[in-house]
Every structure is written in C-alpha cells, then in structure tokens.
C-alpha cells in the first residue's frame, strides 16, 4: 500500500505549491503527510473503546453491512485491531528509518557508537515528533478519553498525554510544589523602624545589645522548649517575664516557669491569658508571697480574692491592673482581713468597683499603707479624697480620677497628710488652682515627685509662689504637662498668665535645678524665649537632668536646644515635638533629640562630637 502511495506521490498532478515542491526536493511528500495524519486520526478513533462502532465501520475497511455491524463487531474487533497495530508498527518503522537518514540524526549520532544507542535515539526523535501539537485531538493515556491537546496538557509518566482532569489528579498526587519561604521580618526597613520606636521608648543605645538581652530574646523565642528556668537569680527571671509578656506569651503553661516556691514576689506583666485558676495556682505554689503585681489581670475575680484572703499569705504590695471584674464588696472584705500588712496598694483601670467605700476601709484596716495609687478610676469622688486624707502613714499618693474634685478637697487633704508626702501625683485635674499650689507650698516638706497635669486654672504667679522660698528639698521629678491657658477666642494672648509660664519656670529651676532628673513641660506654651535662654544660660548647670520634655513650647529655638544640651551634661533625651523654631541642631554624641519636624526624621541620635 505504501509503495502505491509513493508512486502516486511522484506523479505530476498539475500546479504544486512552493512548499510542496520544496518538500519534494527533500524527498518528503506533502500527500504522504496528509495521508499519515488521516491514518493517525482513524487509528485514534478506533482506539476509543466506546466511541460507537458505527463510526468505525464507516471510516475503516468495512466488512459487514451496518445492520449486522453490532453482531459482528466483537468478532471483527480483535482482527482489525491486530491488522491496525501491524500497520501502525510498519509506519513507525518507516518514519524511524527516515529519521535515521536525516541530517539532524547523523549529527547527533556522531557522539554515539553503539548501534543500540542509535536505535534508542531514533525512537526518541520519533516520539518527539509524533507528540500531538496543541489544538489536535488525542486520547488520554490514563482514562483513554478523547480530548483537545493544549500547551498545558500534562504528559503521563510512561509516555502519552493526559486530559485535563487526569492531569489535575497527577498534580495532586505529586508533592505540592514548595512555597517560597516567607521573608524574614526585620529587614532594613523593619529594623530602622524598630530603632525609631526604641528611641521614642527611651531604650535606644548605640552598639550591640547586651549578651543577657540576646539570650533572653532567644529564650523567649523558644519558650515552648523550656521546662524549667533552673535557679536563676530573681532579677533575671523578672527580665524574662517582661520579655515574654511583651510578646503575650505568658499563659497557663509558661506561668509555672515563674512560680518559685521560695520567692517573695510574682510580677505578671501581662496576665490577659491567665484564668482564675491560674491566679489561684500562684497562691498555692508560692506560699511566701509578699509582692504581687498583675497587669491585665482580667480574670482576677472575686473567687481569686476569696482564695487569697483565705490563705496565710499576707501581701505587702498589691498592684492590680485591669481587674475590673472584682466587686467592691470583695475589695472591702479582703482589705478588712489582710490590710494589716499592706504597705503599697496600686489599682489601675478598675472601672466602678473600686470607689469611695473601699477607700473608707483603708484608714482602719491598713495602718501601714505608704503608697496608694488609684488610676483611671471612674468611681472615686470628693468623698474618697476625704477618706484618703485620713491615711496618716501615706508617703506616696497618686491619683488619676475621672470625677473632677473641687480644689478645696485637695487643699484639705494636703493640710492633713501633706507634710509626709514624698510623691504627689494628680493627673488630669482640670480644676486644680492656685489654692492647691499654696497648700503644697505651706505643707509639703519632703516632696520629691510632683505631678499636676491638664490644669488651666493655675497661674504663673501661683507656681512662682510655690517654688520661691519653699523649704522643701529639691524635687527630683516634675511633670506639669499641659498646665496652660486654653481659650479658643484668644489662643495667642495670655493676659492673666494662666498656666506654667516664664517666671514659674525660672523659679522652679532655681529651686530644684540641682536635683531634677526628669522634667516634663509638655505644652507649657507660654514660657518665653528669654526665660529659656536665662534658665539654660552659660553659667547654669543641671547635673542630674536626664530627661527633658519641652514639646509644644513654641518659643524654643535651635539656640535653646543647644544650650539645654550644654547646661544638662547628663541629658539623655530631649523631646521637642511641635517646636517649630527648632530647625537644624547639632546633637552631641550619645544624646537623643526627638520630634524635629524635618526630613532627617523625627529622631536624631547624636553623632556630633562636642569638642567644637
């Protein structure tokens, strides 16, 4: 049959296309190709198991009439299949021989000597060329269904192509392709941001971290491997606890690492993940507990307080933050039973359940209370202030109340307990006025830390009177944030000198300049340039000052910032947010200037050597 075809191909049959002519010169027949393709298509149809025998009968050499086709099909099937296979094999052989004769094959053959290799190569080339092109129909190698070949069709492991569903199955069977490894954070940008954040936190330093810090960070990353911290010293355990809390890693399991039966203190910096039973476990494990600090102790509930009161633990320090499920009656009960030993009581964010009634219990039940802090409290009122005034043993008082108390309340309180106070912190007291300042002047003698914030009633004269000829030792910590005039009608003028202004600033520095370590004048915007220049004058030295905050003091200039760095040799960081006249300052090495609004960034870590 093929010989006949060959012969017919050689016959001249009228005009030929250029391609056919060209192929003919290379001994390739276009007709042959067409016939081959038809034969392949036919063969493919025959291979299809249930494609309908009628179709087969029409296209192939039919022996029977359509009527008997069904009956005959089983008997003719195998015979025809054998004949077809024979035919196919012959054709393959022919093409392979053609390939063997081709130039491409000759070229590649040169590298091989063996005749078997030669055959393999020829077969490979044949299979390569025989693979159906995209767009053609092909039978799937697995399910034998007919499908259209696309560039995306997968090849079966043992030759042939796969239809789309089978290809997908194959993909799933194969190991899922590896995902790109996640980029490790802390790259250039991340680290830079971290540095900026550290500067704002005041924990920034040049150079490498301490070995201890590095180890603790590694430990915190692998805390799930730790069984026991061994007998590390208390201060190291505390550091680890802080680090873990920072990453919210303190839970029921890791809590046990920090419970040492012989310890006298348990500081939990983040108890958000601890349950009531965890808190009870603290008291079970550490019977010698004296100092307890719990931040975010949401589940420090009545039952925990009950348990604590029932044990033989007598706390000296209690610091509770966010325990707003504790009821007022439970507070009173606990203080009545265990208040005797209490020296320090600090309560933060407890909404309404820590109020005047609890403070009223303190006088009788806590005779040795030295430190009292009530912060973010919505319940304590003027009545509570009167109760605090009865606590003769108090040395440190810190209040941040939501209820505004009339200044008279503070005045009478200072009259009673002011003489002993070392710390007086009144945050967000909008109504505090000069009478309170005068009371401080008249009563306080051992004050070290003073905070009065957000008051727009106090005046420059009031502060000046407070600091001038005050027989109190020098203050160490002063925070007068936002003590300034607030009048939207006349935002610029301050005819009555409301707030902490120039004279008060001079008086404060004259009184406490030598001892001050921390000074916050955030938003005291009526301090004049002359006052700053005088305070940070050439002959003035403030040896202790480490942290100075003069943000939103509008008159601060480059010169004042430079003078401040010179006058305060131990200054570590200076905040100048919103000081628009600060433009280009040279910051001495090791010092930090925060908040300059320029392109260099919010933070300038000094690298300039000050040997001018």
């Amino acid at each position: 049959m093929s010989a006949r075809r060959q012969a017919s191909a050689r016959r001249i049959q009228g005009p030929q296309s250029a391609l056919t002519d060209f192929l003919a010169t290379h001994n390739i027949s276009a007709q042959q190709i067409r016939l081959d393709a038809e034969a392949r298509r036919r063969a493919a149809l025959n291979d299809q198991p249930d494609a309908g025998s009628q179709q087969e009968d029409q296209t192939s050499l039919s022996i029977a009439t359509p009527v008997v086709a069904d009956a005959l099909a089983p008997s003719t099937g195998p015979r025809r299949a054998v004949a077809d296979r024979e035919d196919k094999r012959k054709k393959e052989q022919k093409v392979i021989e053609k390939i063997k004769a081709s130039k491409k094959f000759q070229k590649r053959k040169r590298n091989l000597d063996d005749s078997e290799d030669e055959d393999d190569l020829a077969l490979a080339l044949f299979q390569q060329s025989a693979a159906p092109l995209p767009g053609q129909m092909e039978n799937c190698a697995v399910c034998a269904k007919r499908f259209t070949v696309t560039p995306y069709s997968r090849s079966a492991p043992d030759g042939g192509l796969l239809c789309n569903p089978c290809g997908k199955e194959l993909d799933q069977e194969n190991v899922a392709p590896k995902k790109k490894p996640k980029r490790v954070s802390g790259g250039a940008v991340g680290r830079r941001r971290q540095v900026a954040s550290k500067i704002l936190d005041g924990t920034y330093r040049l150079g490498a971290k301490g070995l201890m810090t590095l180890c603790i960070e590694t430990l915190a990353k692998n805390i799930d491997l730790a069984e026991d911290l061994g007998d590390l010293p208390q201060h190291i355990i505390d550091k680890i606890a802080r680090k873990l809390s920072k990453h919210r890693l303190l839970d029921s399991r890791t809590l046990s690492l920090f419970l040492q039966p012989t310890a006298d203190r348990v500081y939990i910096y983040d108890g958000a993940r601890l349950t009531s039973s965890d808190f009870i476990r603290i008291f079970q494990t550490v019977p010698t507990l004296k100092k307890l600090k719990v931040r975010n102790g949401i589940h420090f509930k009545d039952e925990v307080m009950d348990y604590l009161a029932s044990r033989s633990i007598d706390l000296e320090e209690l610091y509770l933050h966010g325990a707003n499920l504790l009821s007022e009656s439970k507070w009173k009960e606990y203080l009545a039973r265990k208040g005797q030993s209490l020296r320090s009581l600090r309560v933060y964010w407890t909404d309404k359940h820590f109020g005047d009634e609890v403070l009223a219990v303190l006088e009788t039940s806590c005779p040795s209370l030295e430190r009292l802090k009530v912060s973010h409290n919505q319940q304590v009122s003027a009545q509570g202030i009167n109760e605090i005034a009865k606590l003769k043993s108090l040395k440190h008082l810190s209040l941040d109340l939501r209820n505004q108390v009339h200044p008279d309340g503070y005045v009478s309180m200072l009259g009673k307990i002011g003489a002993e106070l070392e710390t007086l912190s009144l945050s967000r007291v909008l109504d505090v006025d000069n009478t309170v300042l005068d009371a401080i002047h008249n009563k306080c003698r051992v004050l070290q830390k003073l905070r009065i914030t957000d008051s727009d009633m106090v005046t420059d004269d009031g502060f000046t009177r407070l600091f001038e000829e005050w027989p109190n030792q020098g203050l160490v910590f002063v925070d007068l944030e936002k003590c300034r005039q607030l009048d939207s009608a006349q935002p610029r003028d301050n005819p009555n000198n409301i707030g902490f202004c120039s004279n008060a600033f001079k008086a404060l520095m004259a009184h406490s300049g030598r001892t001050l370590k921390h000074l916050n004048l955030h938003g005291c915007r009526h301090i004049s340039r002359a006052a700053f220049e005088e305070v940070f004058g050439e002959d003035k030295i403030y040896p202790e000052l480490q942290k100075l905050e003069i943000s939103f003091c509008e008159e601060v200039t480059d010169f004042i910032v430079g003078s401040a760095f010179r006058s305060c040799p131990n200054l570590r960081s200076l905040n100048v947010f919103g000081c628009m006249k600060v433009k280009d300052v040279q910051v001495p090495r090791g010092k930090i200037l925060v908040g300059v609004p320029n392109a260099v960034g919010m933070v300038i870590a000094g690298t300039h050597d000050d040997d001018e």
Binding site: L206, G207, A208, K209, G210, L211, M212, L232, P233
Partner: protein, 101 residues
C-alpha cells in the same frame, strides 16, 4: 604597659586570647584586671566554673560587641538555643547586662 591582649582560661583548660579593650566591657573582668590582683599582673584570668564552649561563646560576644560598639542597627548575634539558659547565668556573672555595660 600591659599587653593589648589578655588570656581567658576556662575550667576545662581552653585558653582564649582576647583584645583587652573588648573584654573590658565586662565589669567583672575590669575588676579582675584592676589593682594588684594576680590576674592584673599576668593578664591571665581563670574561670574554673565555666566550661570551654560557654567561655568561647562569651569571647565571641566580646569581639562582636567590640566590632559593633559605635554602629547603629546591629545584627543580633546568634545564640544557640541549648546554651541559652547557661549563657544567661554566665552573662549575669560577667555583668553583660545593658544597664551595667
């Protein structure tokens, strides 16, 4: 004038020669090299309760710290997880804490 280098000797006999300036970040070593202690004369400090592996890590840290002393954005040194707890103790012994250094 004493040598620029000092020798740290571990309990199991390993000796590490370190730049004196680098080792001086540890207040403990500074203390040993001050005054007229034997260590100050010979420049050899013996740490009988610290083994070679740990001391080697500490020496590595001295050099790492010294190299990065004035740089910003310092890459953290790798700490092997299994040595972590022992190193914490040793770091405490050498006073390699941030507040102190």
């Amino acid at each position: 004038m004493a040598s620029k280098y000092i020798t740290l000797i571990s309990g199991d006999g390993y000796e590490f020669v370190v730049l004196r300036e680098a080792a001086m970040i540890s207040p403990t070593i500074t203390g040993m090299l001050r005054n007229q202690f034997a260590e100050a004369k010979t420049g050899r400090c013996l740490f009988p309760e610290i083994n070679g592996v740990i001391l080697g890590k500490v020496v590595e840290y001295f050099n790492y710290y010294h190299k990065n002393r004035d740089k910003e954005d310092v890459l953290d040194m790798e700490i092997p997880v299994d040595l972590c707890l022992v190193l914490i103790e040793v770091a405490d012994f050498f006073g390699l804490d941030e507040q102190q250094s």
